[in-house]
Amino acid sequence: MGYPERVDPSDWVDRYGDYLFRYALLRLRDRSAAEDLVQETFLAALKNRETFSGGSSEATWLVGILKHKIADHFRRQAREGSLPDGDPPDRPGESPFNSAGHWQSGPVEWGANPADLFRQKEFLDQLAECLSDLSPNHANAFTLREIEGLSTGEICKVLNVTETNLWVILHRARMLLRRCLETRWFLRGAGKGS
């Protein structure tokens, strides 16, 4: 068995650039922010090359650095936008529930979904658009939970909210995202073919 592979930094962009960019874009939904974080990741990696222990692949090491940059990015957004963003109450007529807490119009049956739904570019585009329609606070909480897979405790620290607060944010994010996907994808019959 040889040593873990190391690529000369001059080849990093070709070797890892697209991979890191896709990773960042899926989480940030913003091309220029994703490009910036990829660049910052490479620069930090260059500065700290000796921290690459060789215990993992170089790609894994770079993603580890990128993860920190993404968390920092969310932390900054939470600091800058948390107050005005908050969690606005439903406007009248917007809540899916009546005053007794029953569905006014419940979720619609989505029908059969192709097993390769996750591989369909069109579905990914709709998912990204639906996430972008949420407030940054809701989209970031959902992203950290469902895409990054962080625990609620970790997310509370990044977004600087209490756990009870986070549950409310995640609940609302999931509800809005479900409704958006229903309207934009599942009811348009887009999910039927494959």
Binding site: S10, Y19, F21, R22, Y23, L43, H171, M175, L181
Partner: protein
């Protein structure tokens, strides 16, 4: 106390992040037996979660479904930044 659909949707979401107290868990299960909307809601949230997980895994492989790549501009910029260090 009977849980409303509004309560149950909140609890469904929370159960995806933490384990519910046993009383609440039973209340939700009973409600889901008799309410097709909430049962559908839970099924759809779980489908979204599962699909997102698969998207994440697929995107980490070369040729991920989004087919996104760095633009030539960005490539050049990043190369330059790396060289100037």
């Amino acid at each position: 106390m009977m849980l409303s659909c509004k309560d149950v949707t909140q609890l469904i979401s929370r159960s995806m992040d933490t384990s519910l107290p046993v009383g609440k868990r039973i209340g939700v299960r009973i409600h889901l037996l008799i309410c097709r909307f909430c049962a559908r809601y839970e099924k759809q949230l779980l489908l979204i979660r599962e699909t997102v997980r698969r998207v994440v895994a697929a995107e980490e492989l070369p040729g991920g479904p989004s087919a996104e790549a760095l633009s030539e501009d960005a490539r050049g910029r990043i190369r330059q930044a790396l060289q100037s260090r």
